[in-house]
Symmetry: C2
Subunit: 165 residues, 2 copies
């Protein structure tokens, strides 16, 4: 199963693709879609939507994963993040890529074993689990790979639960 | 100039198209895109995006107008509204339809003459200005036509200001 993790942001949106098998999870690709601040929000959303569309086209992921957002400190930033997330959900939905969402605590729990893990611990675990010791990872990229890995970890448990009588 | 006003909402998104000439503003079309609550947010965003795309294709508006949002009472609703607005901005941007935004107070001021006008006054003025006395208008539809009319009213002033030495 090919998993596309996305970490949406109004300036930078990270993405991370992995191939998940029962044996192990393999790194495929990751990066950061940068949205120039000089452009209007509408223009940035178009750039983002096109870039995501190209990624989905190229890699044909089986599912997309993003972090759930429960609240934001400032309604204003929640609104802007919402715009970006809306475009992410639209692009996945239009290409029939099924969406999964996990709470930030679930991501931390799944990777580090505690819901209160630090950013650096997450980054460290992403590199360890995907054999990326020599590859520098940007923060948004690591976060996107982290949600991909979370889905890869949680999915087999869900499937096993569904098979219980 | 053909103006498409949009009133974004996570359940219902209103739209209102007018043709603005220096002489008068003519009603073209309006309606409400309903997004079934039974569907996931991603599915609703796809339905909305497709419906907006069809509208833009059919009517070829010169510009799109939405209300600015400065704050929302609840960060959660700001986030959801952001998703919907993101799709609206994306669909307009992808089809090179230029976006204009007005504050709610500007819309009220422009239509009723006071920034503190009630919903009913706005509805009344929309019907009067567009000769829609016999046509029942839904609230989101009327709001969408109101932002279209606001742009039609403010645009000539802006153009005249630009021509000043």
């Amino acid at each position: 199963m090919r998993i596309l993790g996305i970490d949406p942001g109004s300036r930078r949106t990270g993405y991370g693709l992995i191939e998940a098998t029962p044996q192990h999870n393999r790194y495929l690709s990751s990066g950061c879609i940068r949205l120039p601040e000089s452009k209007s929000l509408a223009e940035r959303l178009v750039l983002l939507g096109d870039a995501l569309g190209d990624l989905i086209q190229q890699w044909q992921p089986d599912c997309g994963v993003v972090e759930e957002v429960f609240f934001a400190k400032h309604p204003r930033s929640a609104l802007v993040l919402g715009h970006v997330r809306g475009v992410v959900l639209l692009e996945l939905g239009r290409r029939q890529v099924r969406l999964h969402e996990y709470a930030p605590r679930q991501v931390k729990q799944s990777l580090v074993g505690t819901g209160g893990a630090q950013k650096e611990q997450i980054q460290h675990m992403v590199r360890m689990l995907l054999n990326l010791r020599s590859r520098p990872l940007q923060e948004d990229e690591a976060d996107a790979l982290a949600v991909s890995l979370t889905h890869a970890h949680i999915l087999p448990l869900q499937q096993r639960l569904q098979r219980l009588p």
